[in-house]
Structure formats: C-alpha cells, structure tokens
C-alpha cells in the first residue's frame, strides 16, 4: 500500500516536471506552484480549505441523515420504499450542473446552502442504494432471529439495521464523501461563496496558472488525507461488525 503511494508520487512528480519543461507557458513548475501559497496568504488558503471541507462534510451529513430517515420510513411503509427507489433514479438522472444552477438561483451566489445541497444531492444516491440493499440483506439474514425476538420496527431499526448496515454505509460513505468533495468544488466554482473551487476558477479567470495548480493540488491532498487518515481507518474499524 505504502509502496503504491510512493510510486504514484514519483509518477506525479516526474510527469509534472516533464510537462512543465515541455510546456512552460501552460504548466507552472513545482517551485512556482508552491510559492503561490505564501503569496496568496496562509489565512486565505486555510479559510478556503476549511470552507470546502465545511460544504462537503455538511452536505455529506445531510445526505447521511436523509438516508437514515429514509431507511427507517421504508421499514414502516412499502409504498414509501417504492417511492424511494424511483426518487433515487430521479436524483441520479439530474446532472450536478443542473442542481448547482437551480440552487444558486434559489439561494443566491454567495450562499453556502447551494454547495451544501448540491453535495448532498450528489452523495445521497450512493448511500441510499447501499443502505437499502444492505438493510434488505440484513433482514433476510436475521429473519429467524427476528421471528424469535419479535422486536418493534423501531427496535429493529436501532438494534439491527443501524449497526448492521454500518460497514456497508461507511464504505458507501467513503465513496460518497469523495464525490461530495469533488462536487462541492464544482458548486463553489459557480457561486461566490468561497472555497477551493471558487479560488481555483478565480485564479483561472485572472490567468494565474500557479494558482490553478496550487488550489488543485491542495484539493487532491485534502481528499487523499481525508480518505486515508479518517475514512479508511473508520472502514477498517467497522468491518469487524460485518455479518
């Protein structure tokens, strides 16, 4: 695993250096890109990073909460479950660009609500699919035990479905948070609420190539760090609950 990251880093560095030499007018060098951070100011870099993290995490949590409520309601009503299935297909069929424009029209370009909702819309389907399929498998697997214990629907949800679907939900959440981070910068790029996406497009508009690369690099590092340091470990931890 660690060797894989080493090879990737070497590949990225060599490619970057080669491209910067071949196309100096288009691709800034590594040193020039790294110099951008102190020039832009530590507080701007930190604020933009935190803002993107905020948009992504809150959007992800909104989706996670909605999935949890949806699975609970699906336990009570087969009609709602059928509706959810159609809703999921509908949400997946609407482009992120469409969500972005609609939410910016509704909430305004400076509002953080638009990138948060776009992120939620993008991560909701992956988690809902995982949550529904995992809870169906779980209920089938433990049907004999459920017949013996006869829990109420709420007890079934709290003691079986929530902990039992957690391993698959965390795996899906890992993918969804990756989607959330990637999508939030797109939504930020369209609005003026700030964040890495906004700064990236702003640098592009001003023709600051080092800025474009610096913000993009920051985004990639942020995503990898989040995945490897938090989500990967969380996934490993909940795997012991897998049935």
């Amino acid at each position: 695993m660690k060797r894989g990251w080493f090879y990737l880093l070497m590949f990225a560095l060599v490619s970057w250096i080669a491209l910067a030499r071949l196309y100096p007018a288009l691709v800034p060098g590594i040193a020039e890109t790294l110099r951008f951070y102190p020039e832009a100011g530590g507080s701007l870099v930190l604020k933009s990073t935190l803002l993107t993290l905020y948009h992504s995490l809150v959007g992800f949590l909104v989706a996670f909460f909605l999935v949890g409520v949806s699975i609970l309601l699906a336990l009570y009503s087969a009609e709602f479950k059928a509706f959810l299935s159609s809703l999921n297909v509908f949400i997946q069929s609407v482009s992120v660009l469409v969500w972005t424009i609609i939410f910016i029209m509704i909430f305004g370009v400076t509002s953080s609500i638009a990138p948060i909702l776009v992120t939620a819309m993008a991560s909701f389907p992956a988690m809902l699919s995982a949550g529904i399929s995992s809870s169906e498998k779980l209920l089938e697997r433990y049907r004999p035990l459920i017949a013996l214990l006869k829990p109420s629907r709420l007890q079934l949800y709290v003691h079986f479905i929530v902990p039992g679907t957690l391993p698959e939900m965390v795996s899906a959440g890992r993918v969804a948070l990756g989607i959330a981070l990637r999508i939030s910068v797109v939504a930020e790029a369209f609005g003026s609420a700030g964040g890495l996406g906004y700064q990236l497009v702003y640098s592009y508009d001003l023709g600051v190539k080092a800025g474009v690369f610096a913000w993009a690099l920051l985004l990639v590092v942020l995503m990898i760090a989040l995945d490897q340091l938090i989500l990967g470990r969380l996934e490993e931890w909940v795997r012991r609950w897998y049935w």
């Binding site: 433990y142 004999p144 013996l148 214990l149 006869k150 003691h159 079986f160 902990p163 897998y242």
Partner: protein, 213 residues
C-alpha cells in the same frame, strides 16, 4: 401427559419445485421431550423454521400453543453486540430485567459475556445461542442441532437443563444428529428419511437405544 403444545399435521414443503417435506405429522405435549432425527437434507431445519413462523408450509398445519423459543442451527448472534447483550435482547425488547449470569454459568460461558461473538470460539457461540433461547419466556423450546460443537461436559449440562425444563412442564423438541444424547433425553423420537422426507418411524420406550435406527 399434559396438553398438546406443538401440533404438526400433514406438512408439505417444496423448494425450487422439489418437495422436501411430505405429510409430516408430530406432536409434543407439555412436560415432554421429543426428538427428531434424520439424514442431512431431510428438511428438519425447515420444519423448525415452519414452527417458528419463518417459513410457510404449502399445506398442512403447524401450530405452537403458548410462547416458544428456538435454538436455530445457525447461531445468529449479532456481531455488533457483546454476548451478554445478545443474550438479553428478548428481555430488552420487552423492557424486562435480564440477568444472563445464571444461564451463562450453567453453560460455562460466564467468562465470555463481555466479549463480542467474533472474539470467541464456535462452541462458545453455540452455547451463547442456547443461553439466549433459554432467556426467552417460553412454554415450548425447539432446539435444532444443539449438541453440535459442544464438549462432553457442556452436552451433559444441556441435557440436564432439558430434563429440568420438561419436569417444570415445558415442551421440548430436539432436532439432532447426536443419537446418544437424543435417546438419553427424549421420550419419543420421530425418524425422518427419504426424498421427499416422511416420518418413517416413531421410536418409543425400549426402542430408544443403540441400533434403533
């Protein structure tokens, strides 16, 4: 003998178009321990699931009078709960007090109550699933292969628990391959065989012994 608590009449069940059970009938009365034996694939566990309401028969009648508890062939312990919490699930769902220590001591698993199922051996998991069934309030106890994976002292503890239950007026149905244990505790043993599976013999009294099959 007391009233009939488990009544099975003419049960038929098929899977994927193949008939597994045909015309199965048996009964278990209050205070009785009844055995059910048969080779693999004769639908014994299916019959247990029909009695527990997990599977539905195509025809026939399967009824359990009063409350029942089941030890399934699979342990079905929840990996996200410690053994003590697995044991007390039934009581927890009804807001009742639960002290798993007594039953755990009888089965020799008191030292594992704070462990998760994946942290203990298969034998301990088996005993935990038996203990969980014993912590349910029941008139009828159905045990599917309860002796599998148990060491000799644990088998003897379980046999003694089964006898105590019968003496206290519970009805017990034991499905097992382990004939020696079954013959030592059951007053009547139904023998299933064939495809589809039927009750071929009912062994009673002196018929319960080595060479009976």
């Amino acid at each position: 003998m007391g009233e009939t608590l488990v009544l099975v009449r003419g049960i038929e069940k098929s899977f994927n178009g193949e008939k597994i059970l045909e015309g199965i009938s048996l009964e278990v009365k209050r205070g009785e321990v009844i055995g059910l034996v048969g080779p693999n694939g004769t639908g014994k566990s299916t019959l247990v699931k029909i009695l527990a309401g997990v599977e539905r028969p195509e025809s026939g009648e399967a009824s359990v009078k009063g409350s029942f508890s089941v030890v399934y062939q699979e342990d079905y312990l929840l990996p996200w709960k410690k053994l003590k919490d697995n044991l007390c699930l039934w009581a927890k769902f009804r807001g009742k007090e639960c002290d798993p220590l007594g039953v755990a001591k009888k089965l020799g698993i008191e030292g594992f109550l704070n462990k998760y199922p994946k942290e203990v051996s298969g034998g301990t998991r088996r005993k935990a699933s038996i203990a969980r069934a014993l912590l349910v309030d029941f008139d009828v106890l159905i045990l599917d292969e309860p002796f599998t994976g148990l060491d000799q002292p644990s088998k003897e503890s379980l046999l003694s628990i089964i006898r105590e239950l019968a003496n206290s007026g519970k009805a017990v149905l034991v499905v097992s391959h382990q004939l020696e244990e079954l013959f030592s505790v059951a007053s009547r043993v139904y023998v299933l065989s064939g495809r589809p599976s039927k009750v071929r013999k009912v062994l009673r009294g002196e018929g319960l012994g080595k060479g009976a099959l």
